[in-house]
């Protein structure tokens, strides 16, 4: 679709609708962030308080008393490393599937079926597997085992690979074969073609995949809860420590959620640039 010159009215209409949609999407989040600055007596009240005296107490509580920084650090570690693994492995694999389709469609189909198995049913085997690995020397060295980040890194890599591979296959398919062929004719070998021609063009797909893999790792709960106990706990598990016997501490919960979304926002902003079609397109020829 081309960027045709649109009439002014059309542009206004477009942006109005976008604004409305943004309001709908962002309103709960804005309300959550507002809540994080509210003192306790302004939170669970009816009618809701839109005006209040902001306080940083909730943030102080979350960071100091609840040791939230540790959860953020753990989650960052696990999310970034597993996403890197996923992006690298899945790009290679997806390219291969798109160009050569090894195994006919069967291997690809098999990969997707692994997504169809509800995670709860494999929680126990994963627990046992990592318990065993954690007791070995290698496991200890590589930090793989129960309550160690390695277990989560591997698990998240495993969960995201099928999704990433499938997503990227379709992006790779969109890259015209002629570009690769002409690069081969120019003398590049297959790996170089992949590196210099294909990957740059697949950047939007890779960036999108990376974003979602990060998000899924960031927000995963079930395995984080089963495979960690204390030292390796992630944000999603840590947030639950605000659900106390005296009731849910809404202020700190909101503060914790706000804090934990900031790294995500940063990632997305960084990866934004790569979501635009590569400038190297067309540079390979001639």
């Amino acid at each position: 679709m081309l960027q045709q010159k649109e009439s002014k009215a059309f542009v206004i209409l477009r942006y109005t609708i976008i604004a409305l949609i943004l309001v709908a999407i962002l309103f709960p989040i804005v309300w959550l962030i507002l809540t994080s600055f509210k003192p306790a007596e302004d939170i669970m009240v009816s009618p809701p308080h839109f005006f209040f005296k902001p306080t940083l107490d909730n943030y102080i509580y979350a960071l100091q008393k609840a040791n939230f920084l540790m959860f953020i650090k753990n989650t960052l570690l696990v999310a970034i490393i597993s996403t890197t693994f996923v992006v690298v492995l899945s790009s290679l694999a997806a390219y291969s599937f798109a160009r050569y389709n090894p195994g006919g469609g069967n291997v690809l189909f098999f990969i997707l079926t692994t997504k169809m198995f509800p995670a709860i049913a494999v929680v126990l085997p994963y627990f046992l597997i990592f318990k065993e690995i954690g007791n070995t020397g290698i496991g200890n060295f590589l930090q793989i085992g129960l309550d160690k980040p390695g277990a989560l890194i591997i698990s998240y890599t495993m969960f995201n690979l099928p999704f990433a591979i499938w997503l990227m296959v379709s992006f790779f398919q969109d890259i015209p074969r002629e570009l690769e062929d002409s690069a081969r004719l120019d003398g590049y070998n297959r790996l170089q073609v992949l590196r210099k021609v294909v990957l740059p063009l697949a950047m939007p797909g890779i960036a999108v995949t990376a974003i979602f893999c990060l998000i899924f790792a960031w927000n995963e709960f079930l395995f984080a809860y089963v495979l960690t106990r204390d030292a390796a706990r992630t944000i999603t598990v840590g947030v639950e420590s605000f659900f106390t016997l005296r009731g849910i501490l809404w202020g700190p919960v909101a503060a914790a959620a706000t804090i934990s979304v900031v790294p995500m926002l940063i990632f997305v902003l960084i990866l934004q640039r790569y979501m635009v079609r590569g400038l190297t397109f067309g540079a390979v020829r001639g």
Binding site: M70, K73, K131, M203, E240, T244, R246, R273, L279
Partner: protein, 475 residues
Amino acid sequence: MKGNFWKLMCFLIVTVMVISGCGTKATTAPETAAPATTAPETTTCNDADRVPITWSTIAGFYTDAMTSIVKDFEAENCVKVTIVGIDNAQLYDKQIIEAVGETGAYDVYNIETAEKAGFAENGYILPMDDYIAANPDKVAYDDIAPVLADITTKYKGHIWGLPYYTYTQGQFFRQDLFDDPTEQAAFKAKYGYDLKPPETWQQVTDIAEFFTRKAGENLKGVPLTKDFYGIGLMAGPYQEIQDELSGMILYKGTDWLGSDGSILVKDEGNLWALKWYVEKLLPFAPPAALTVTYDGVMNQMQDCQIAMTANFFLDQWPNAANTDNTCPGAKMGIGVGIEKTTYIGAFLMGVSSSSKHPKEAMDFVAYMAGKAAQTKFASMGGSTTRVSVLTDPQFNTAESWWKTGHFAYLLKVFENMKDAKSNLFYSPYGAKLYNAMGLIYHQAAVGEKTPEVVLKELYDTFVNICGGDVCTVNK
């Protein structure tokens, strides 16, 4: 451009690894007692020699109180305690997973009354009889409220742990409403008897109906700015709905299980309880009653929305008492529950059978449930399980009313309920039955199914879980 992407990723990874490398071994900072270097040491003990003990308990659980009490323990014992706080909803699951996997990750568990028999039957916890016999003064077992000691620690003739926090139910209500002359006159005129805090279920219904008013109508002679409701209920898809029902069921002289293990959930008494709940109480509760549990009810009370609770957890008193601050003109009162029959229970600490340091773990349990710790706990508002602490004069003054006003009522409830103990707590299936009930009762509350249908479904679920129509009960 792609090169930059990879450089960025490498940079981020290295940064994160450096950050993680530079931190101390991860601890749950304030929840872990730091090596007591500043506290006066009564034992000479190097940090390196300290025996590590991990206690899994409810998250955010009186964190400050627990931390300082744990520090006291560490000062007297060569032990290092790590407190792992887990959300109450996940605590049981997490502990079972670790217990089944025999990982020894937790040395001391936090166990609910209904879960005790299952833990014991499966051999996940160690009996403490010998320890108690060898350390009678440390444990002072007889000081624990007898009915609590019985239902929370005893199974098959052994003692399986010590209770340290009780959530036994009584009732909270807006005393100021009952004291108001306008309301008293109107009530007498309408119902024919004096207005006072309810003692029977019929009175609960009358009073709840009486105080349910729309915005604009008067309450205590002043027009309401928002709707007001006569009663707050925990009818959401949680486990607490059965706690609310339990007092009504026990009042009718029945139970979920018979002492022979027979399943009684659809008998007359149970049916009466559920029907009364759905038809005579829920209509006078806020619509949100169908979606909330105890914290929702406390929020409603503090926001001037309800006149009273049904049978309700007395440990929530500090929250209820706060209503005097948040709701102008409100004054909270406490009761022993309707028909003096309520749900009693406590959390106990039990020692894991896969613990690598059972002796130290038992010392820890004995300490936390012991008089010194319980007194300190009570001073911070914790609902203690020891009679000597509940009767301690320092906790029964006007000043401590806001934190410990419920202590006197806890004692009364223990006295009232001393012979009525639900058989559910003595069945190894207890935890599962308990976990199954909430969502099923909830279906009756929202009107999706009639009480009769729901109880039939509950009965079938019990049969399913127990593998037959008898759920073993071992008193």
